[in-house]
Amino acid sequence: MAKPSERVITIPRMGTLQLMLEDMFARLDVKYIMPPPSTAKTLEVGVRHSPEFSCLPLKVTLGNFIEAIEAGADTCLMAGGCGPCRFGYYAQVQKEITKDLGYDVDWIVLEPPKKGFISFLRTFKKMAPHRSIRYIWRQVLISFEKARHYDSIEKRLLHNRAYELEVGASEKAYTEAIDILRPAVSKEEIAELAEVALKHMDESVAMDKTKDVLKVGIVGEFFMLLEPVVNFDIEKWLGERGVMVDRAVYTTDWIAPSLANQVGGLSKEEVSKYADKYLSHTVGGDGQQTIAHTVLYVEEGFDGIVHLMPFTCMPETIAKSILPKVSKDLDIPLLTLVVDEQTGKAGFITRLEAMLDMMWARRAAKAGHDDWIPAGAGTH
């Protein structure tokens, strides 16, 4: 095991979480290795060593850890939790499994602040023992602030992609926008460059804002929503087919669900306001949020909802049991996609295509047209 000051930390891959942690580690002078991008092999390694019906996020992130350890990491950083979703034990389960496999690594488990704010801070100190807690906390907050902007830029991408005239133009602008913000260090720079980056998203891409687009809200379990590898990047698939996509949770919403200024998330009061009629109690994870976001998307005039969840996910299975009623009551097309290691992209695409057709048909019916295929559907 490494001396604390010489640690090489690694984290699982989850969408833009990496951007935030790279920034934070740089500020704190922490050495790190990011796991190689998740591939079929990552999943295979994870699945082989995981309990059979643990959920996909455990399996994929275990694969990430193993690949990062093989690449030279000696300390695994994982989030904790205090229930009732089983995610709260994943660090311990993964520790047990890697130990069994003979890997001699340290584990740092970041338990949520509500389990004790002092020990929450001390966990950061473990990562950067050479820095004062005061300094660390200040940097963490700035890093988080920056990550909020990363999320806003991503949100803009999901909205804009439907209108782009040239396929891939928004995606390219997104990469550039991230690069614009990345060097920002001070709070002032962050605010300034974030504005430039957002402007770049809007102005460097040729868009037809008059185009008739469908609006689809994506709800469900956070890991499935945030990590494009496990959801086959359906946001991109939808966007390229002229669908304006909105997502229920962004990285920073997941990190601090209790704070204001969420990019896509809802406060506790909002969740309760929208979900209570159907699910009046939290069920851990994002179960109640899924219901709340669905109701809210309907209120905001969305054309359909895609619900993403890992197979065997407890909170989302509860949501899935209740969503058919929500869909029926509010008259909204809803597609639940359950993902495990056997899931293939083709099955997803077929169902999404059918859903697009249906949403266009409903649009046409509402407008009183018999001919339900609009000029722009199916083309780009």
Binding site: Q92, S280, H281, G285, G287, T312, S321, I322, P324
Partner: protein, 328 residues
């Protein structure tokens, strides 16, 4: 006619039925407990529930909807925390809402049981339910007290204080035909939820099958709470699930104190909490024992033949290893 309240014989019924019976009984409310789980009940559940939910919840749907036809109300409390800081399974938190989301749902009584709601949280929940049937608050409080007393008695009756050493005599006779010998020679701990292992339909009659072979069976409910809590301290992280803490603590206790010859871990597909603590229990049984452990996963497609074969193999293995340890 006085209203009737249905008690679904599923899930937490197995833990709390003593309290529920006593409570409604004192209030003079007629209760109807659903029949034992059967193919008919399961089929009702399978039709109404989501395909991905775990087996015992599917069974619960069956019981609750079946009762909905026969009673005015179905009693489905939302049991969130029965001990501060530890949850029940997420499914118990959403259970009333899940049943309400079916087509033509039954009328449901669903008080929230959450000890974080103050010192009198459970009594307040009892008052909320009681007021539906009577204005006499003193009577409701009395009913609540009787219910808690009945529950404590029920739990105490299940505890077997003096299980310490495993019996080793007469082991030989088990191999050469055990006729006439009523003394159990092997003791197996069944780790799993009461609503699975005590339901003969769900568990394919596991406990009786073992007893028929002259094997003594112990379950987590037989282990004194003190010992469960003490043993559970060895877990890699405090468990935030109450019932799983009991299963883990009981298993750890069995392993640590060599109380049983083997453990059968019964998991219903696809139980979330069990998929997690299974890793901890299996690891512990291997390292601290070693105590042989067999995991059995059950779902609505489980077949008797598969179970019997595995049980036989496991019992043979336990017998052999015990004999060789005795030098027989």
């Amino acid at each position: 006619m006085a209203p009737t309240v249905g008690l679904p014989r599923a899930l937490l019924y197995y833990k709390y039925h003593a309290a529920w019976d006593a409570f409604f009984n004192h209030l003079g409310v007629e209760t109807v407990t659903s029949e034992n789980t059967s193919k008919k009940v399961l089929n009702i559940g399978l039709k109404a529930s989501d395909s991905e939910i775990c087996l015992p919840v599917k069974v619960f749907y069956g019981h609750a909807l079946d009762l909905g036809e026969k009673c005015d109300y179905v009693f489905i409390p939302r049991i969130v925390q029965v001990e501060k800081g530890s949850f029940t399974c997420p499914k118990f938190l959403g259970l009333p809402d899940m049943i309400r989301a079916v087509d033509n749902p039954p009328e449901i009584i669903s008080p929230t049981i959450d000890v974080r709601n103050g010192r009198h949280a459970i009594r307040d929940a009892a008052l909320e339910v009681g007021r539906m049937f009577t204005d006499d608050e003193a009577k409701i409080v009395k009913a609540y007290k009787l219910a808690m007393k009945a529950l404590r008695k029920h739990e105490k009756d299940l505890v077997k204080e003096n299980i310490e050493k495993t019996p080793i005599e007469k082991l030989k006779s088990l191999i050469g035909g055990n006729e006439g010998n009523k003394e159990p020679v092997l003791r197996i701990g069944i780790a799993g939820h009461a609503y699975n292992i005590e339901d003969p339909y769900i568990s394919l009659n596991l406990i009786q099958r073992l007893k028929d072979r002259g094997i003594e069976v112990v379950t987590p409910e037989n282990v004194p709470m003190k010992k469960i809590k003490k043993a559970a301290k060895d877990a890699p992280k405090d468990l935030f699930w109450n019932y799983e803490r009991d299963i883990l603590g009981a298993s750890y206790h069995w392993v640590k104190n060599k109380v049983v010859d083997g453990i059968i871990y019964v998991v219903a597909f696809p139980c979330g909490p069990d998929s997690t603590i299974q890793v901890f229990v299996e690891g512990y049984a291997k390292k601290e024992g070693p105590v042989p452990l067999m995991s059995i996963v059950i779902d609505e497609h489980s077949a008797e033949a598969g179970l019997v074969t595995r049980l036989e193999a496991f019992v043979d293995l336990l017998t052999e290893s015990k004999l060789s340890a005795q030098g027989v």
